[in-house]
């Protein structure tokens, strides 16, 4: 009985995975940085997903698919861009310098699409990933943990560090005026 419910929930391959094509593409596009490679990666991920589909048990389909997409993406990066930057999530955060807190907030609020895009693209790939999943895909921690294959505690440290890095990049783009609010 339970099995039947599961099967019914799982539906068929196309019904399960095609609705998440935009999410799959968005993740790959951010991590590999261009449309052409992103399309190749997503296509390969879908073929892998098809192979693994018999193991899909009707959980969150987007998380299940994105785990495969991220894995395919990392294989691609490993093969084609061995120097791609990946940094530890658990590195210590440094303490704050609050010499210009109001200025900092104003700058963040005023950041435009272009600046945000640049800043996000400049992050190490795993930080890009965690920010994309949380802020663009609006995923809960549990699903992010599932996609990235890490514990929820590491999701939290990763987000703390990733958000801090993103902010640093945003503020440093603005040159000297934001620098007071930064730390090294």
């Amino acid at each position: 009985m339970k099995d039947q419910t599961r099967d019914a929930n799982a539906g068929n391959f196309e019904q399960v995975v095609m609705p998440h094509l935009d999410a799959a593409y968005n993740l790959a596009r951010w991590l590999v940085g261009n449309q052409h490679d992103a399309e190749d990666v997503v296509q390969e991920a879908y073929l892998r997903a098809l192979k693994f589909f018999s193991g899909y048990r009707g959980g969150n389909a987007r998380a299940w698919l994105l785990a495969i997409v991220r894995n395919t993406t990392y294989s691609f990066l490993e093969k084609n861009r061995p120097n791609e930057n990946i940094e530890e999530f658990n590195e210590e955060l440094h303490s704050a310098d609050l010499s210009a807190p109001q200025a900092e907030m104003a700058l963040l609020q005023a950041a435009d699409s272009h600046a945000l895009r640049d800043a996000l693209e400049g992050l190490p790939v795993n930080f890009q990933e965690i920010i994309v999943l949380r802020e663009l895909e609006d995923m809960p921690y549990k699903q992010i943990a599932e996609v990235m294959g890490i514990p929820i505690g590491t999701v939290m440290s990763g987000l703390a560090r990733g958000r801090e890095k993103l902010r640093e990049r945003l503020l440093s783009q603005r040159g000297g005026e934001g620098q007071d609010g930064l730390r090294k």
Partner: protein, 256 residues
Amino acid sequence: MACENNDRLLQGYFDGELDLVRSVEFENHLKMCPECAHELKNQQAMRRALRGADLLEKAPKSLETRIVDSLPREKRQSIVQMRSRPAIRWFAFATAIALAIFLGAVVVRNVDNDRQALATENFLAQEIVSSHIHSLQAGHLFDVESTDQHTVKPWFDGKLDFAPPVVDLADYNFRLLGGRLEYLDGRSVAALVYQRQKHLINVFIWPQGSTSPKLPGAKSIQGYNLISWKRDEMEFCAVSDLNAAELRGFVRLLDR
């Protein structure tokens, strides 16, 4: 930047991921801690900017067509059939009963399942061999390179939801070289790398799940020997170009 020790809590609060008790605790903390209060406002400002910036990349229309076209049609349909099974299941059930009456046996229904199990089993074995071959290409062998089990084992902490056993077998001329993360059967698994003279051995380890396909005990694919076994609710599979007898010896040492 939040005050010491609170940066993770602050993320959780900001993302609505704390339970009620911790949420209230953190709100009390916020009243007394200007650093965290300021940090929270910064996070809000940045989120507004991020979400207002239209950063989501939409898949091009052509990609959908390309993917649907690239999916092997018959395989897609067989999956559809496998997954929309109630009718087939009833049919199998009815057949089984009919045959049971005629033959006094009720086992036929398993034949189809066995064939499917065999297909997944072969597929997983093939995946393992591909992973092994891929790992032999330059730069893919390990994420953590160390002959010390006490370096390799902790490296997996936080990267997997289980702790793979890491054993030093240098005394037996199987040298531990390192470990890495791999992806098999839809999940992250641990891979340990050992060396015997010029032969490399990959040992894949993952928790035994009710859903994971069974692997054959020993098998040879494309000239590589595979041996799989279970222990402490984990599945192991060793793969190498090492001859079958030596690989069995290696497995006996690991499985002690």
